[in-house]
Symmetry: C2
């Protein structure tokens, strides 16, 4: 008998940013955060976990390449915690259950998006790891409980255990048991929420978020004010905006929080920069787009947000996506034809970039080809999925299948 499970897990992009740990070992954050889970149809990590008495150690392959599962490391912690749950919740209660917690595991994981895309794969990766082990171990656990384990792999991974709009509540306990992800609203609540990822070319390798956020905690005089006096109210306000499907408020808070996250990074010593001149130009274009929208409708229509890198994610409602893609392509011409997963542009593809009436073109220049090296159009999506046998990434020997 083969004990094996395969799951996929989504990427999430925060609207209220996580930046700073109060406990670096348990990965407990200095503030709550909130994200949108993106559709796994477009971006996902897929993971197969197998437990077998013949395996001599826990092993893991990422995109076909073995990664060492270092004792005390983050992968090891997650695997150990999941085995503990298997024992406590299943084997200790049912003596006939296979003693999977005593077997070593082999794990193969694969991201369907290139590392070069600059998307944080650790969130979807650890969420897929934890959800595949949960399926393998048949754990009777809700996603919120599993999020406690994923959090110890990579903080923001806890938010990828759920679909829709997800809050990571910072919690107050020192053992971290109340620092978990909860769903604010499922994807079905606001299915017209779309996302356009602008992959920005960047020569410079940025500061890693793990080391960067602790430098901010140690040196930024502004961070404490953000943590204590800004984020708590924003969590309340953006949750309300989501529940009311109030895009205008959702967008304003999202943009303000992205900018404030980069502001505290800049207030760090030495300062940390993740956005570059192309990122700034995307902001200028979206701000101008919103200025025109506010003039005509009283409300903004797009929200940019930037994580620890130069890529922009633009949230908007379905009705505006086409206009926004044309606008972005006008200022940031694309090398490759736009992959149009929703068939917005039909057979003829993208036309001449049109700008809304009253748009001041002078806010940005037309950038050289490849400054934005790719556009990924996706939308809000659900939590991890259990896949069937055919999707498994391990072969009979328990090593990664060669992918076509």
């Amino acid at each position: 008998m083969v004990f094996q499970a395969t799951t996929s897990a989504p990427v999430n992009i925060a609207c209220i940013k996580y930046w700073g740990k109060r406990d670096t070992s348990l990965i407990l954050p200095t503030n709550s955060s909130l994200s949108v889970t993106l559709d796994q149809d477009h971006l996902r990590s897929t993971t197969t976990s197998r437990a077998d008495p013949s395996f001599t150690s826990d092993r893991l392959w990422l995109n076909g390449k073995e990664e060492i599962v270092k004792d005390g490391g983050r992968m090891s912690t997650c695997i150990k915690e999941m085995k503990r749950l298997r024992k406590e919740l299943v084997e200790d209660k049912d003596p006939k259950a296979p003693q999977l917690s005593t077997f070593s595991v082999h794990i193969a994981s694969y991201n369907n998006f290139p590392t070069a895309a600059g998307l944080a794969s650790s969130a979807s990766g650890f969420a897929a790891l934890v959800s595949s082990l949960a399926a393998l171990y048949a754990l009777p656990c809700p996603p919120t409980t599993l999020s406690l384990i994923a959090r110890q792999g990579s903080g923001s991974a806890c938010r990828s255990l759920l679909g829709g709009f997800v809050a990571w509540e910072q919690g107050s306990q020192s053992n971290g048991l109340d620092s978990h992800a909860v769903q604010v609203a499922p994807e079905s609540h606001w299915p017209t929420m779309h996302a356009l990822i602008c992959v920005v070319n960047d020569a410079k390798k940025g500061t890693s978020s793990t080391s960067g956020m602790q430098r901010t905690v140690e040196t930024s005089p502004l961070l404490q004010h953000r943590i204590k006096h800004v984020v708590p109210q924003r969590m309340i306000d953006i949750s309300k905006a989501i529940l009311e499907k109030d895009f205008d408020s959702f967008a304003r808070i999202t943009m303000a929080d992205s900018n404030q996250f980069h502001a505290v990074a800049l207030d760090t010593s030495p300062p940390i920069f993740y956005m570059n001149d192309v990122s700034r130009a995307i902001i200028a274009v979206v701000e101008e787009y919103n200025r025109v929208a506010v003039e005509t409708t009283g409300k903004v229509k797009a929200a940019y947000t930037f994580d620890a890198g130069p890529n922009a994610v633009i949230y908007t409602e379905e009705a505006n996506v086409k206009e926004i893609i044309e606008m972005i392509v006008k200022f940031f011409p694309q090398q490759e034809k736009f992959k149009d997963p929703f068939g917005l542009f039909g057979a003829q593809g993208l036309g001449e970039g049109k700008l809304p009436q009253g748009f001041n073109e002078a806010v940005a220049k037309t950038w050289e080809l490849g400054s934005v090296k790719g556009l990924i159009h996706t939308k809000i999506g659900g939590g991890p999925r259990v896949l069937d046998e055919a999707e498994a990434l391990l072969n009979a020997e328990g090593t990664p299948k060669t992918l076509a």
Copy 2:
């Protein structure tokens, strides 16, 4: 008889930044600030003011071009206030004094640095305006009193009324009478303080500081924390560092405050960016230079600071200037030969850019020619100077002389 005076006034570059007004009409700031006055031998505004009963209105020429002195405008306010002081302090006390306050004035002002250099000329310009009128009117006023008037022309101009290290105390009175500049230490206290201005090429026209700072006051949640809890202590700490000639502390505070000013600009809605990728690269180079210095000596040797634009000003002590210029030129090759006002490099000019041992060259690439389009080397300097007749900028008719 010709009633005329000519003065020159210096540029100043803040270490603790002024950003935000509590009164936009009187120009009263939300926080105190502190600057270094730069040497007029290199950068200055020169102004000639003449009072004559034949003049029919107050007129002003800037770099040979007439600017309209609009009633209620900033130039008009300064001229009016200076006339009031003339009347109160001179004419009302001495009936025999010429009634200059009743005459219109003609004023010609000239900056010896190109506008394209991107240096704020309003500070030196208003300081020269006020000091030339003070000389014309023979006002028995110390610079601190005159700084109250210059402040109403352009906030940071008040700091150009004094040499050396100058604090602009925010004050608390609603009439602004305690919001003035005071000297923390004269230039003779620390004459080895040098400055290297890196003029950065920038296509984009930035947000004006006048409108930008009020947008920050209205929308940045972090600004209030900076004003109340960060700047007051920094003013104390940097004043102490100056009095003790503790360059390490002076530099660390200067860099942190520059970064925090740009952080609150970014925390504004819509966000304000003044630094670009070249500015960020200069920061990376100086931070690496300091990292190596700290490893070998325990102290940093350079401090960058950026005002409301992409240009860097690097403060350092005389002994390190040569090394820093070579380093900057290595990463940012110069189109024009370095103007070497202190004769550091002798007849052969700048050599191959050498980097200190242990310097990680990968922190920045070698930028294309002209990314930093000019370097200006100067040092700390004194307050406004009264010049003699030969330097006057007005001809016999009371209009600007044609400058060679």
